[in-house]
C-alpha cells in the first residue's frame, strides 16, 4: 500500500480495505526498515501516530471522513508541534518542545491527517543539501552517496522512498522545489501569504512559505487545500478564499501559454537536465500548449539579492536563540556575555553562523543602503520582470535545479557553489510567486525536476498543468531501487 497515492489511500480507507491504523503501522514499519540509511526523520512519533490513526478510524467508520482523514504524513521539523520536539535541525533546539501547534500543524491534524514524525532538514532551513543538519545529512534514496537537496531534504527523501505518501516542507529560496527535483517527486511552493507562517520557525520572514511534497500533483492539491488559508495570527497571510485545487485538475491544456526564460537555459545548466526539460516541453506542445521564449532580464540579481535579504532577516530572526528562555544554554556561564557567546557558539552550526554574520554586516550602519536597500530594489526589478512576463504567458517553465543530485560533501566546503544550486528557484521567493517542481526524466539514473512558475495565487493552474503532464508521463510513478 506504500506505493499508493494519497487519493487512492483515502479511497481504500473509506471503503474499509484497510484501516488507518494498519496503514500507519505499515508506514512505521517502512521507516524502521529503511530510514536508518536515509536519516530522513529526526523524531518518529509512533505512539501519537497510532492514537491519531485510531481516532481517524472512528471518524471514517462514522462516515465523516475528509480527503486527509487517516492519511499519514511526515512533518518538516520546522513546524511547531505541541508536545513533540521541534529541532529545526539544530543543536540549539535539540531540547525544544513547543507548547503550541503551528497553524499548518493544526490544520493538518484538524483534517484528520496522522503525523508519523518530524523530518530532518538543513539547520534552520539554511542549506541546499541537507548537510548542515545537527542530526547529520539525509541520503537521496535514488543514490545514497548523493544529497537529497535542501533544506527540506528529509521530507523529500521520505516521500521518494515511499516511507510516507505526503509530507510538508518550507521554501525560502527553493527548499521545497529543489529537493523535490533531486528526489524525483512533486513539491509546491505557494504564493507568499497563502499558507500561514505562524508556528513555522522563521528563517527569512519575507521569503518563507510552507507547502506540500507528494508523489503527484493531485496529491499535492489535496495537501495544499488543507494547508492554505488566511490566518489572523500571521499578518502577512492573505485574506482570500482558498481555491478548490482538485476542481481544476482536469482542465485541458489546449491554448496554455508557456514562457521559457532564456536566462534559465544558459551557462551553468547541466546539458542532460536541459535535454530532459526540453523533452517535457515537447509533451506540453502535444497537449495543446504554445511555447514562447521570454526574458527575465534581472535574473542575475536574484542570487546576490537573496544572499543579502535572507541573511539580514535571519540575523534578526535568530537573535531570540540566546540561551535565556529556551533552547541550548552553555554550562556555567560566567556572565551575560559568556552566556550569549557560548550558548550561540555551541548551539549554531557553521552555515547558520555564516549567514548571521553576513546579515549582521549587511544591516550595519553605513552598509544598510548599499546592501539591504539595494537588495530590496533588486527585488522590485525581479518582480516586475515576472509581472511583465505574465502579460504574455500563463506559466513559466524551466529546470528546477541546474544539475541532478550531487555527491554528499561535494559542495559542503564551497558555499558559493552551493548557493548557485538555487539559481533558478530564488527569484520566485524574492517575487513571492507560486512555483512547483515535477519529475521530468532522469540523468544518470538521477531525477530531473521541471519547474513551473505561476502568477500570484495561481496554484490551481500549476496543479492543473502538473496533473495533466503526469497523465502523459510516468516519471513520477518510478521508485528508487530498493524502495519499490
Amino acid at each position: 500500500m506504500y506505493q499508493k497515492s494519497l487519493v487512492e489511500l483515502a479511497a481504500d480507507l473509506q471503503k474499509g480495505t484497510y484501516s488507518s491504523e494498519e496503514l500507519t503501522r505499515a508506514c512505521l514499519q517502512r521507516i524502521r526498515t529503511h530510514d536508518e540509511r536515509l536519516n530522513s526523520f529526526v523524531t518518529v512519533t509512533e505512539a501519537q501516530a497510532l492514537a491519531a490513526a485510531q481516532a481517524a478510524d472512528t471518524v471514517i467508520k462514522a462516515g465523516n471522513a475528509g480527503p486527509l482523514t487517516g492519511i499519514p504524513f511526515a512533518h518538516k521539523d520546522i513546524f511547531c508541534t505541541s508536545g513533540v520536539k521541534t529541532s529545526c535541525g539544530s543543536r540549539m533546539l535539540d531540547n525544544f518542545i513547543a507548547p503550541y501547534d503551528a497553524t499548518v500543524t493544526e490544520k493538518l491534524l484538524g483534517a484528520g491527517a496522522v503525523m508519523i514524525g518530524k523530518t530532518n532538514m538543513d539547520e534552520f532551513a539554511m542549506g541546499s543539501s541537507n548537510e548542515t543538519s545537527f542530526y547529520g545529512p539525509v541520503r537521496n534514496p535514488w543514490d545514497e552517496t548523493t544529497v537529497p537537496g535542501g533544506s527540506s531534504g528529509g521530507s523529500a527523501a521520505a516521500v521518494a522512498a515511499r516511507l510516507v505518501p505526503v509530507s510538508t516542507g518550507t521554501d525560502t529560496g527553493g527548499s521545497i522545489r529543489q529537493p523535490a527535483a533531486l528526489c524525483g517527486i512533486t513539491g509546491l511552493k505557494p504564493t507568499y501569504g497563502r499558507v500561514s507562517r505562524y508556528g513555522m520557525i522563521a528563517f527569512a520572514s519575507s521569503l518563507d512559505q510552507g507547502g506540500p511534497f507528494a508523489r503527484s500533483a493531485e496529491d499535492a492539491a489535496v495537501m495544499l487545500g488543507a494547508m492554505a488559508g488566511f490566518d489572523a495570527r500571521d499578518s502577512t497571510s492573505v485574506e482570500r478564499p482558498v481555491d478548490d485545487y482538485l476542481a481544476q485538475l482536469n482542465e485541458p491544456l489546449q491554448g496554455l501559454r508557456i514562457g521559457l526564460p532564456k536566462e534559465y537555459f544558459g551557462e551553468g545548466l547541466d546539458a542532460a537536465v536541459g535535454d530532459a526539460v526540453a523533452a517535457a516541453i515537447e509533451e506540453f506542445k502535444k497537449l495543446g500548449a504554445t511555447v514562447t521564449d521570454i526574458t527575465l532580464p534581472n535574473t542575475h540579481l536574484s542570487v546576490p539579492a537573496y544572499y543579502v535579504v535572507a541573511p539580514a532577516e535571519c540575523s534578526s530572526n535568530l537573535s531570540r536563540f540566546d540561551g535565556v528562555r529556551f533552547g541550548h544554554r552553555a554550562d556555567n556561564p560566567q556572565d551575560l556575555q559568556d552566556l550569549y557567546t557560548r550558548s550561540r557558539g555551541e548551539g549554531f552550526g557553521d552555515e547558520v553562523k555564516r549567514r548571521i554574520l553576513v546579515g549582521t554586516y549587511a544591516l550595519s550602519a553605513g552598509y544598510y543602503d548599499a546592501y539591504y536597500l539595494k537588495a530590496q530594489q533588486a527585488r522590485h526589478l525581479i518582480r516586475d520582470d515576472f509581472l511583465q512576463a505574465f502579460e504574455q504567458v500563463d506559466v513559466i517553465m524551466g529546470p528546477t535545479a541546474p544539475s541532478v543530485a550531487f555527491k554528499l560533501g561535494a559542495k559542503a566546503d564551497d558555499p558559493v557553489s552551493m548557493y548557485l544550486s538555487d539559481i533558478y528557484t530564488i527569484a520566485v521567493n524574492l517575487a513571492g510567486l507560486p512555483a512547483m517542481s515535477v519529475p521530468a526524466g532522469f540523468s544518470n539514473g538521477l531525477p530531473v525536476g521541471l519547474q513551473m512558475i505561476g502568477n500570484y495565487f495561481d496554484e490551481a493552474r500549476l496543479l492543473n498543468v502538473g496533473h495533466q503532464y503526469q497523465q502523459v508521463s510516468d516519471w513520477h510513478t518510478r521508485s528508487p531501487r530498493g524502495f519499490e
Partner: protein, 478 residues
C-alpha cells in the same frame, strides 16, 4: 561666558490598551512575574506579532491633538540588540516612517507668556521586560509581564531652554494624553517617563553643542533636578576648557546627580530594518476623520471656555484644566452650585484640594462628590450659611456625615438672618460691655471688630455677618 541650555525630550507614554501591542496578553500592572506574557511576548520560535488596532487609533488621536501629520503610511522596524529582558533580541519600533510627525504643543511659562515646542515625531513601539537584580543572589530574574506593552514615544524638537520649560512641556503632554484617554500617565508604574537630551551653547550661537542623554526619568521633580544638575555639570566642564562627551547618562534620584552609563563609542548599532512580519500601517482620510470626531475638548480649548463661561482668571482656569478629571469635577460642581463659577473655583482649588492633598487622595475618588460640593455652595449662595460655617459643614461632609443640607439641619447651623433676632443679640452684647461701648463712642473705633466678634460668638457663628455689620454700625452710631 553666557550659556544657553538646549533641551529635547523623548517621552515614553504607555498606551492604555487592555492587551499588548502585538499579542492578546493583558497589560495589567503588578501581576505575578511572567503571568501576563504569552508565547508571542516570550518570543518563542515561530510566533508572529499581530498589531493591536487600538494603538493606531490612540496614536492618531495624539497626532490630531498636537497639530501633527498622522502618516498615511507608517512602518514598523526592528531595533536589534541583545538583552535578557528583550525576548526576541529586537524591539519592534518605528524608525524611518513614524505614525505621527511634525506637530507642536504650546506651553505656559511662569511669567504668563506661552511658548511653542515642536514635536518632531511620535512613534509606536513595544516595551521590554524587566530584569530583577535583587532577591536572586548572584543571578538575575526576568519578568516579561511588561514585554510587549504598547508605548508611544513622543520626541520633541530641541526647543526647550530650561528645566522649568521641560517640566512645563512634560506636564502638558502628561495632561494631554490623559485628556485623550490614551494613557493613565501613572509615573510610579512607569507608564510615563522621559529621556532628556541636554547640551549647552554660547548664547547667540546657532550650532548645537555636544549633548548628553539622560535616560529613564520618571517624575517631574526628577526631570527638573536632573536637568539642573546636568546643566551645571556641562557648564563647569565647558568653562574649565574641557569638552562634553556625547554619552548616555543615568539620573540617580537618591544623590540628585547624573552618572555616565555608556559613551557614543559603546553605543549599539541597532541595525534597524523594516519588520517583515508586519505590514505597513496605512490610514486614510476617512479613518482620521472618524478619529477626529472622537477627540474630547482639549485642555487649551477648555481653559478658554472656563474663562469665558465662568469668568475665571487665566490662572484659575489653567489650574482647573490641568487634568481632565479635575476639570470634569469642577464643571459638575459648578452646575450643582447653580453656576457660581468663581465660588466653585475657590472651593475646588482651596478646601477640596487641601483636603485631598492632606489625605493623599485623588479627585476621582474624593469623599465629597462634585454634586455634594455644589449642594454646599448653593447654601452659601442663598445665604443659608456663611462661608465660615460652610468650612465646618465641608469638614463634616468629608467625614461622611451626609449631604450639606442634612448637616446644616442636624447641627442647627442655619444662618440667622432675622434682623430682630440679630438686633436682640447686639443689644445684649452692648448691655454686657458698657466699658467697651463707652471707649468706642469715645473714639476708639477699632473696637468695632470686638463687638462683631462678640455677636458672632454669641450666635455661635450663625448670624449673617453682613447683617451683623450693618445693624451693629447702626446701633453703635445711634
Amino acid at each position: 561666558m553666557e550659556w544657553e541650555t538646549v533641551i529635547g525630550l523623548e517621552i515614553h507614554t504607555q498606551l492604555a490598551t487592555r492587551s499588548k501591542i502585538f499579542s492578546g496578553a493583558p497589560t495589567q500592572y503588578g501581576a505575578e512575574p511572567n503571568t501576563q506574557a504569552c508565547a508571542v511576548d516570550l518570543g518563542l520560535p515561530g510566533v508572529l506579532p499581530v498589531l493591536n488596532a487600538e494603538v493606531v487609533r490612540m496614536a492618531a488621536m495624539f497626532g490630531l491633538a498636537t497639530h501633527s501629520t498622522v502618516a498615511p503610511r507608517s512602518v514598523f522596524a526592528r531595533k536589534n540588540y541583545f538583552y535578557p529582558d528583550l525576548p526576541k533580541g529586537y524591539q519592534i519600533s518605528q524608525f524611518e516612517l513614524p505614525i505621527v510627525h511634525d506637530g507642536y504643543l504650546d506651553i505656559e511659562l511662569e511669567d504668563g507668556s506661552s511658548k511653542r515646542i515642536g514635536i518632531t515625531r511620535a512613534h509606536l513601539e513595544e516595551d521590554a521586560g524587566k530584569s530583577l537584580h535583587e532577591s536572586y543572589l548572584g543571578k538575575t530574574g526576568i519578568d516579561l509581564n511588561r514585554a510587549g506593552t504598547p508605548l508611544l514615544e513622543i520626541v520633541s524638537e530641541p526647543d526647550i531652554r530650561s528645566a522649568k520649560e521641560a517640566v512645563a512641556y512634560m506636564k502638558k503632554i502628561h495632561s494631554l494624553v490623559r485628556y485623550l484617554g490614551i494613557s493613565d500617565g501613572n509615573m510610579q508604574e512607569g507608564s510615563f517617563r522621559c529621556d532628556a537630551n541636554i547640551s549647552m551653547r554660547p548664547k547667540g550661537q546657532q550650532a548645537f553643542g555636544t549633548r548628553a542623554e539622560i535616560k529613564n526619568i520618571n517624575s517631574f521633580r526628577f526631570v527638573e533636578q536632573a536637568i539642573n544638575y546636568e546643566v551645571e555639570r556641562q557648564v563647569m566642564l565647558l568653562e574649565s576648557g574641557a569638552t562634553v562627551v556625547q554619552e548616555t547618562r543615568l539620573f540617580d534620584a537618591d544623590r540628585h546627580e547624573t552618572r555616565s552609563m555608556r559613551s557614543k563609542e559603546e553605543a549599539n548599532d541597532y541595525r534597524y530594518f523594516p519588520d517583515p512580519d508586519l505590514l505597513p500601517v496605512e490610514l486614510d482620510a476617512a479613518f482620521l476623520e472618524a478619529v477626529r470626531k472622537t477627540l474630547p475638548e482639549l485642555p487649551d480649548a477648555r481653559k478658554a471656555r472656563l474663562v469665558s463661561e465662568h469668568g475665571l482668571s487665566e490662572y484659575d482656569a489653567a489650574v482647573l484644566t490641568s487634568s481632565r478629571e479635575l476639570a470634569d469635577y469642577f464643571e459638575a460642581a459648578v452646575q450643582a452650585a447653580g453656576g457660581a463659577g468663581k465660588l466653585t473655583a475657590n472651593w475646588v482649588m482651596g478646601e477640596l484640594s487641601g483636603a485631598l492633598n492632606k489625605g493623599d487622595g485623588d479627585i476621582t475618588n474624593s469623599p465629597v462628590s462634585a454634586a455634594a460640593l455644589g449642594g454646599l455652595l448653593l447654601r452659601i449662595e442663598d445665604g443659608t450659611i456663611s462661608g465660615k460655617i460652610a468650612k465646618q459643614v465641608f469638614e463634616a461632609m468629608w467625614k461622611g456625615e451626609g449631604p450639606a443640607d442634612d448637616i446644616i439641619e442636624q447641627q442647627g447651623l442655619k444662618q440667622i438672618s432675622d434682623s430682630s433676632a440679630i438686633e436682640g443679640i447686639i443689644r445684649e452684647i452692648l448691655d454686657n460691655n458698657p466699658k467697651q461701648l463707652q471707649q468706642y463712642r469715645g473714639g476708639q473705633e477699632k473696637l468695632f471688630g470686638f463687638f462683631v466678634g462678640q455677636v458672632m460668638k454669641a450666635s455661635q457663628g450663625k448670624a449673617n455677618p453682613k447683617q451683623v455689620n450693618e445693624l451693629l454700625r447702626k446701633l453703635l452710631d445711634s
